[in-house]
Structure formats: C-alpha cells, structure tokens
C-alpha cells in the first residue's frame, strides 16, 4: 500500500503539470543567471560555486513543496488516503520519499553539469553530487513538515520558505562546506555532519509531518 501511494505521487509529479521538470528548470535557470550577474570570471565563479549551487538546489527543491499535501487536501483525496490502515506518519514518509525521488534526485543528477559550468575541478564535482545526494532528502523531509503545517492556508506557499529555510541552514552550511573543502583540497568532516543531519531529519520528520496532517484533517 505504501508502494501504491509512492507510485501515485511519483506519477503525479512526473506528469506534465507536475513538479519534477520545474525543479530541474529552476536549478538550471539560477545556475545560469548567477554568472550573468556576478561576471563570467571563472575564478570568481569557482569561489562562489559551492554556495550558489547548494542554495539553488535547496530553493529548487522547495518550489514544489507547498503542493505536497495541499493538492490532496483541497480535493479531498487526503481524507480518503487518511482512511487507509496506514498510519499518517507512513503516509507522510511516502510523500517525502516521492518528493525526493522526483525533485532531489534529479537535481543531484543535474549538478555535475552545472558544476562544470562553474569551473569546479572533478573531485569537487564528485563531492557536490555526493553532498546533494545526501542532503536533498533532508530538504524534502523538513520541507514536508512545513508543507503539512501550511496545507490549509491559501497561498501557504509564500510562508513555507520562511518556516523551512532557517531549519535547513545546517544542510546548506555543511553541504557547501564540504564542496568548498574539496575545492581547496582539504579534508573535512562536513559530509559526515551532513549525513547525520540528513539521517536524523529524514527519520524524525514523518512524525512531525504526521502530527501536522492529523491536526489539519481533524479541524
């Protein structure tokens, strides 16, 4: 049954009106605009690459989050799904997984291309991809909590970044920090911290998201 829910969400996201392509396009657009803004000097771009690419990935993943629960809440399908024997926490976990598979994972696959555009050395591109692969589940997880809290608000998408971005600060700090260390040729524990953060948030957020879904369905 979890599988059915997972595949339903994946199918919805990858369709034409879905969010998967949107996130990829946004990521690429931001990564294109930044060099146009800061200048095309590759040495300067190399210095800002770690942070810019990580922030762009987080924002791209955040784009589709507000509809994660809201679209089902509005047409009543969330009520039907909640009637299933699955606990709400599992439903939330399935939605988080679907969101990551259709947003975070494609962003991770696109990142090497954008890394080349910023002049990253091969080792740093590897670390960038790895850090995004580890960190984007945390973005989906924490974002899902925000999405669940704001699902009943019309235009809830405007308040979602304000709620979620302060909580995502460690992911950006450690993810970009790992890439920057790879660029500088230093070793750093940032990837380990990022992994710890990702594991903790991914495992614990379904409980918070489930509680938020419960309170919105009960009202």
């Amino acid at each position: 049954m979890i599988g059915a829910l997972l595949f339903r969400d994946i199918r919805l996201a990858t369709r034409a009106g879905g969010s998967a392509a949107l996130a990829l396009a946004f990521f690429a657009a931001v990564a294109t605009l930044v060099p146009l803004g800061v200048g095309v000097d590759l040495r300067l771009l190399l210095r800002v690459a770690a942070g810019v690419l990580w922030v762009a990935a987080v924002l791209a993943a955040l784009l589709s989050l507000d509809r994660l629960f809201q679209s089902d809440f509005e047409d009543g399908s969330l009520d039907v799904i909640a009637l299933s024997p699955l606990p709400l926490e599992t439903i939330a976990a399935a939605k988080i997984a679907a969101h990551w598979l259709t947003t975070g994972l494609p962003l991770t696959f696109l990142s090497p291309v954008l890394g080349i555009m910023f002049g990253l050395p091969p080792a740093a591109i590897g670390v960038l991809t790895l850090s995004l692969a580890i960190g984007t589940p945390a973005v989906s997880a924490l974002g899902a909590i925000g999405a669940a809290l704001t699902m009943s608000i019309r235009r809830g998408g405007l308040i979602l970044p304000l709620l979620v971005l302060p909580l995502l600060a460690p992911a950006v700090i450690f993810g970009a920090g790992a890439v920057q260390a790879a660029i500088d040729g230093l070793s750093s524990g940032a990837l380990l911290f990022l992994a710890a953060f990702a594991v903790a948030t991914t495992l614990l957020s379904p409980f918070a998201a489930g509680a938020a879904v419960r309170l919105n369905l009960a009202g």
Binding site: I145, S152, I153, I159, L162, L163, P166, A169, L215
Partner: protein, 237 residues
Amino acid sequence: MFAFANPKRFMDASSALLPWLVAATALTLGAGVVLGFLAPPDYQQGDTVKIMFLHVPAAWTAMMAYGLLAATSLVSLVWRHPLSDVAAKAAAPLGAVFTLLGLITGSLWGRPMWGAYWVWDARLTSFLLLLFLYLGYIALWNAIEDEARAARAAAILALLGAVNLPVIEFSVDWWNTLHQGESIFRAGGPRISGVFLWPLALSGVGYTLLFFTLWTVRIRTEILERRARSLLLGVVS
C-alpha cells in the same frame, strides 16, 4: 498548572501580581542603569563596554523567551491546557523584539570591538536564525484562520525550532567564533570583575522581569480580546 486554566482565575491572579512585577522591573532596571553609568571604563574597550549591559541581557531574554515558547507549546500539545497557547502566542512577538534588540546592540558593539558591524560566525548566525524562527512562528499564527488549528500548528513549529537553542548556546564552544565565549557561568567562576558583573546581573534580572511583565499584560490582553470576540459573536448570532 491547571489551577490557572480558568481564565477568570488567571485574570484575578495576574491583576494582583502585575503591580509588583512592574515595581520590581522598574527597581532592578533602574538599579542596573545607575550602576552601569557608575561603572568605570574598561582598560581595553573604554566606555563601549557598557553596551554589554544592554546587549547581553537582551540576548539572554530572547533565548529564555524561546525556551518558554517551546515549553508552553509542549504543554499546549500534550496537556491541552487552554491558556498555554494564548501564552505562546503572546510570547512570540516579545521574544522577536528582544532578539532584534540583541542583534542591533551586538552589532553596535561589534563595530568598535571587532571593526565590523556583522560577521558570519556561528553565534551571530544562529542568533539571527532565532529571529527568523520567531517571525515564521508569528507568520504561521496569522496565516491560519481557525484559532485552534493555528495554535496546534504553531506549537509543532515552535518545538521544531527549539533545536536551535542549544546550537546558539554552545556555538562558541563547538566552532571557532569571534564572539566571546562563556565568561560568567563557568567552572572557574566568572571572569568579569565585580564592578561590571553587578550592573550586568541587575540588568539581566531587570530584562527578565520586564519580559514577564509584558508577557502577563499581553496574555491578559489576548484573553480580553477573545472574550470580546465571543461576546460579539453572541450578539450577532
């Protein structure tokens, strides 16, 4: 705790307590200000050391306010205490203002001390994140129309953000920060001389009492507003 769940009993108790709170606040803040002005200039910082008496208590109070916010949110979620979500809603704007005060006074102190109005070190960044957590909390309360649902959603958010509090507290130990480490509550005793420690302690107590006074007033106001709203609905329906 549930003794004051009855709003009327809370209103009676708080109206008796409030004059004492105001007096205590005025006394301690006044004493802190006077002693602060009487304190000598520091051998390194000169007179700018006195910004400490404004900055440090503001930061303490901002963090204490978030701790109280998280605690009342937990009580609201777990025990469904009827006044605890009122208390949480009332505490947030106060905490945000104290955080803003801490950021501004700290920035003004940083310019003469470090040469910069702002640095992105761990303590300052996590304290700035505290401000955003407060603002997000207030925004969530205002965005959801149903009062009860807003209370519970905001409570979840407050508990989520409580993770930031130990980060702020221990950031000066965990990272290489420009910000001062722990100088008062240390194993070897405070490293500040008494002539500065007294105004600081009095200001600290004064700011805390100020917070509690304003918080009590805000909770009373919120209770009165809800009463007025239900009376209005009673008239209309």
